[in-house]
Symmetry: C2
Subunit: 242 residues, 2 copies
């Protein structure tokens, strides 16, 4: 099965949680919007599928994944779908629900990270909502960052199968997402993370373990891994990391 991933070509964004899973599993996939328009791909192919009014199950927004005739949208839902196929989640139903529950909490966190720089509107530039962003980011760093990271740290500590993985006794897509969260927070909020990350030793260790997995390390060193920038979810603005 060749998977087609549809996501904006210039950012890691929400698509990155899917890319990491596909890369770790060495899956056959095409990152459609990053391929040449001349080959029928690129952003026009993404827009076509997003706006095609004959599609019965359109997605509200990218990312979405095409697997044969099936189109699946919503980041966490795509991972719910892909997890078993890629061997990135335990076999039993209860563990799969638990992994998905954690992924939905990751998704909630991602919204809050995004809204530090866009607290008023995604349709306005950052510079047009800067005072509000500074207020929201200060609250994020003081209250939300420790609440979410403390929660995820607890999950590792309490895992009955040991503190190496978020779910069960083997790597799952949730671990890959936690890697991305830590990586993104370090980029966006280096000063705050330097101060607070020592409180979350299990998360730091998980981040390191994921980063040196052969396929992940190879992916991160490749041109397929886009750099962080100030267009994505994790953005570095010095004044928001005070």
């Amino acid at each position: 099965m060749r998977y087609e991933l549809y996501y904006w070509p210039g950012i890691q964004g929400r698509g990155e949680f899917i890319r990491l899973a596909l890369e770790e599993a060495d899956a056959d996939y095409v990152d459609v919007a990053r391929r040449a328009e001349s080959g029928g791909m690129g952003v026009p192919a993404l827009m076509r599928l997003l706006n095609d009014d004959t599609v019965a199950h359109p997605s509200f927004a990218p990312p979405f994944l095409k697997a044969g005739d099936q189109i699946v949208g919503q980041t966490a839902n795509i991972l719910l779908f892909l997890g078993p196929k890629l061997g990135l989640v335990p076999d039993d139903e209860a563990s799969r629900l638990w992994a998905h529950q954690l992924q939905l909490t990751v998704a909630d966190f991602v919204v809050e990270v995004h809204d530090t720089h866009h607290p008023i509107s995604g349709g306005l530039y950052y510079k047009d909502q800067k005072p509000e962003a500074q207020r929201r980011a200060a609250d994020f760093i003081a209250t939300r960052l420790p609440k979410f990271l403390g929660y995820f740290e607890t999950i590792l500590e309490r895992n009955p199968h040991g503190d190496q993985y978020m779910v069960g006794a083997a790597l799952s897509y949730v671990d890959l997402s936690m890697f991305q969260i830590i990586e993104g927070l370090r980029y966006a909020f280096p000063r705050s993370m330097k101060k607070s990350e020592p409180d979350y030793p299990h998360l730091t260790a998980l981040h390191r373990r994921v980063s040196v997995r052969p396929r992940i390390a190879r992916y991160l060193a490749s041109a397929r891994r886009l750099p962080f920038n100030t267009q994505g979810i994790f953005r570095h603005y010095k004044e928001l990391d005070a």
Copy 2:
């Protein structure tokens, strides 16, 4: 199976999406935090389970559902779990993923509704973020409300099984959630909804159909249905409905 729902007792909030599904299915459930503390329930029972550090799979926040030994958190995940058990989702895997994808889009919308009155911090009072709330609410009404409602309207229009249901040919938990969305928006933004709802005739019709289903009508007329108020997700502040 007697389900135990854990959610804040004074608001509809996210718990309401679960309550509507349990009520429509006439399921055996206890709304734990609304029961008497003297019977070992009430908010202390909720806090106990939320803070019990022997729970291996704690939830980040309410609602969560206890079904025998299993605890499931995250609103959309609870509906993913309950849907098949309550007969509120089609049988095939593809339809279940599609229903869940829509429910996750409902969840995204709910965050944006909430943030109209709390754009800076959930830890501050509304009155401490009122100018920011007015700016965010104006953008919400101008751009996000039509984008989300337009999307959900399209889903009804394009349903290959007819425009009576969001998913397939029968009522699902997604329809119950759409009822709650329209009901909540009418409460919070009566002026804006009066103006814009004629653009979404399928959603209006779906809301009406759900509201007269015997079990839903009985529930809405009962003391189990909490009224909307200015503590929940949908809040009416006249200045935000401009």
